[in-house]
């Protein structure tokens, strides 16, 4: 049976999340009340039958390592295969590779030893709940070299600017990969490639001193490769800035989006912790919000997302905000359009109001 092995390549992700990425890389930013950004790519791979996943992680990956652990929560703690977190460590004096080719070069064994003949590659900033079985079947049926997963955006936003656009013919052969901002068909950064071909491209790219596997190895060699595109339908989001992060989290407060992302037969998996159910006190008022376990609510929460273990004291109002793990909001506080990173303590009587387009962000572990 044909199978895929997985690769989550964090090398070329955009890390423009200001306060949220002071202490972590973009892939481990908390998202959606309970998850981290990388959970979506990782869960989609596992839910697509991938049983070995490698992660290219270059910097600030302490929290990523903590989150992933042995991979147990994604059923990736396996005797054969499983999870490989590949840090940037090399001492080969003859190594001439650059950019993400360094990762490929230094981890050839992962690909060589893997049992699969196909590789499913992804970043961490395309958020969806997708089973790639159909895309894989499509890849095999068409006998393609590479299949790029694309999605059509209804309303183009600034966060979409940095993504490649795909031009294809009627039956999905890719003719061009462009930066044409008017083209709403975006490349999601998720693609399937034949393993042998991947290894060849890696060698070629290194030989020509290239530093970007996808750009130099696939985009620039488009004419020589059989590249297909497969359209992803349904709810998805690109998250690569504070603004897109805030907007896409808020969109989950619309029930249909919440259901499409979280309530598919295959759930998004994440690091499981032991938190008790949410505790509502006598006078709590909660409306149109998403709350994770371990929260204690005595105040008012409206149109907001609360991560695990948040405490909202009496007489406090929280609106249109994202409150991450273990924040404590004391009595008489008013928060609107605010993002609080983990472990923030807001003291009694504070008022913090951001704008809808530019939410006010408080970095991790601050007392305000």
């Amino acid at each position: 049976m044909d199978t895929m092995m997985g690769l989550i390549n964090l090398e070329h992700e955009h890390h423009i999340f200001n306060e949220l990425t002071y202490f972590r890389n973009g892939s481990s930013i908390p998202f959606g009340g309970r998850y981290r950004m990388i959970d979506f790519a990782l869960s989609n791979m596992v839910n697509s039958g991938v049983q070995e996943v490698a992660i290219f992680a270059r910097s600030k990956f302490r929290s990523l390592l903590d989150h992933l652990g042995t991979g147990e929560n994604w059923s990736l703690d396996r005797r054969n295969g499983g999870l490989y977190i590949l840090p940037p460590d090399w001492n080969d004096p003859t190594d001439m590779s650059r950019g993400d080719l360094q990762f490929f070069h230094n981890n050839r064994d992962y690909f060589r030893r893997g049992k699969s003949s196909y590789v499913l590659i992804s970043g961490s900033q395309f958020i969806s709940n997708t089973d790639y079985h159909d895309a894989f079947k499509f890849h095999l049926d068409r006998k393609a070299d590479v299949t790029l997963i694309s999605t059509k955006i209804e309303e183009l936003q600034p966060e979409h600017n940095s993504y490649f656009r795909i031009e294809s013919d009627d039956i999905g052969w890719v003719k061009n990969i462009t930066n044409d901002r008017k083209n709403p068909t975006l490349f999601t950064g998720v693609y399937i490639i034949n393993k042998e071909l991947l290894m060849e491209i890696v060698d070629d790219c290194i030989a020509y001193n290239n530093n970007h596997f996808f750009v130099h190895g696939i985009k620039e060699r488009l004419a020589d490769l059989k590249v297909q595109t497969y359209r992803h339908r349904g709810y998805s989001a690109f998250v690569n800035t504070i603004e897109s992060y805030y907007r896409q989290n808020m969109k989950l407060l619309a029930e249909e989006n919440y259901r499409e992302l979280f309530y598919q037969p295959t759930f998004i998996r994440t690091k499981i912790s032991t938190s008790p159910p949410v505790k509502y006190r006598k006078d709590s008022v909660v409306k149109n919000s998403i709350l994770a376990n371990g929260c204690t609510i005595a105040g008012e929460v409206e149109d907001s997302i609360l991560f695990r273990g948040v405490s909202v004291k009496k007489g406090t109002t929280i609106k249109n905000s994202i409150i991450m793990q273990r924040c404590t909001i004391d009595e008489g506080v008013y928060l609107e359009n605010v993002i609080l990173d983990k472990d923030v303590h807001v003291t009694e009587g504070q008022r913090i109001i951001g704008s809808k387009d530019k939410p006010y962000v408080v970095a991790k572990r601050q007392t305000v």
């Binding site: 919440y258 032991t274 159910p277 006078d283 709590s284 994770a292 371990g294 609360l306």
Partner: protein, 384 residues
């Protein structure tokens, strides 16, 4: 050699819990929005650094076995020790079901001998409490005791409902009265014992040979030890403790979690209650929802009003519903405009739109599952 190992009696059928224990053992009954009753004792063991635990199962053990698994949620998946599920078995000489609490331990003497502990902690999986068993052990050692029994002070007027231990001022037990008419003390046994293993083993073997014995710790072993003037001491516990043996007490214990002081215990960083967790997404609280004084677990969709209730995972409460003082187990779906008061709804039950079930304060809360529900609907022609 290990200093102490735990033996957890989890075979109880829990007859008085009615439909709640139709297919599962009492310790596996869901509790507190995401736990099972046994999680409290399992977590007590983990938090008390008991590293070897035998769990004795008997009645409908599937759910319980699946829940415990290899013990991972309680950090009991260890190379040596850890958790072992001990079910009755047949051997060359035939083999038997466990016929009493003492018999269950007797039949697993070989298991305890393998670990060769100095002390054995005997507990059961059907009480809700948080206790550091190490403190019990410390006192046991300080008294140079043969057995130490944990006791809790009950109101004097209720003392005749319990097994009452009569002690000297230094808490040495000289008498055990099962449900005494005129109690001499208000110290009730909690069914938590530490025994010095060599002593207990001798008594278990002797008791097993006694045909007339009911092979029970409270009825046989403890009285026999007292008869022989062994050093038995009481350990006084003053925290929250609840036997969830009846539907009324099960309901009460769930409601107690809504109480500010005791309920916080679930969220105590130094004494976590561990359980097998799930991948359900965070709960979704809709536009018109009202939630007060309640516990709500992940995967729930709430559009109606929830007052003083406990919702397990993946419960849906539609618009116009009023759920009051009720417990909704996982996967329960409540149709629009339904009113429930003092009701316990079992796993995956779907309550049709417009249903109204209210149980008064004087009655025991009502347990319903799909079967009971369809019976009720036929009886009353859609109007309950």
């Amino acid at each position: 050699m290990e200093e102490i190992i735990g033996m957890l009696l989890a075979g109880g059928e829990g007859k008085r819990l009615g439909a709640l224990t139709n297919n599962i053992a009492k310790p596996a009954v869901p509790f507190g929005g995401k736990y099972r009753i046994i999680d409290f004792t399992l977590s007590n063991c983990t938090n008390s650094n008991i590293q070897t635990l035998g769990v004795l199962t008997q009645y409908s053990p599937l759910e319980l076995n699946r829940h415990i698994g290899n013990g991972k949620p309680w950090d009991m998946n260890r190379g040596t020790g850890g958790v072992s599920v001990l079910s009755p078995y047949t051997a060359k000489n035939g083999g038997d079901w466990y016929s009493g609490t003492a018999d269950a331990i007797y039949q697993n003497i070989h298991f305890i001998n393998q670990h060769n502990p100095e002390y054995v902690l005997v507990i059961s999986g059907d009480h809700i409490y948080q206790m550091d068993y190490q403190r019990l052990l410390e006192q046991h050692k300080a008294n140079n005791a043969d057995a130490t029994i944990s006791v809790i002070e009950v109101p004097w007027e209720e003392a005749s409902r319990f097994g009452i231990l009569n002690t000297t001022e230094s808490l040495r037990i000289y008498e055990f009265d099962e449900k005494p008419l005129n109690p001499k003390s208000n110290l009730a046994s909690m069914g938590i014992y530490i025994f010095t293993w060599e002593t207990l083993k001798a008594y278990l073997i002797k008791d097993a040979q006694k045909k007339s014995s009911s092979h029970d710790f409270g009825k046989d072993i403890i009285p026999a030890m007292l008869d022989n003037d062994l050093r038995l001491y009481a350990y006084q516990f003053d925290g929250y403790w609840k036997d969830v043996g009846t539907i009324q007490s099960y309901w009460e214990a769930n409601m107690d979690l809504l109480d500010e002081d005791w309920g916080q215990a679930l969220n105590n960083k130094n004494w976590k209650i561990y359980t097998n967790d799930s991948n359900f997404p965070p709960q979704f609280i809709g536009e018109g929802a009202v939630v007060h004084h309640s516990l709500v677990n992940s995967g729930c969709f709430v559009y109606g009003t929830i007052e003083s209730s406990v919702l397990f995972k993946n419960v849906v409460v539609e618009r116009g519903c009023v759920i009051n003082q009720s417990i909704l187990h996982q996967g329960v779906k409540i149709g629009k405009n339904t009113t429930l008061e003092r009701v316990i709804v079992m796993e995956n039950t779907e309550i049709p739109e417009g249903t109204s079930i209210r149980i008064s304060e004087k009655e025991e809360p009502l347990v319903i599952n799909q079967e009971i529900l369809s019976g009720m609907l036929t009886l009353s022609g859609e109007e309950i």
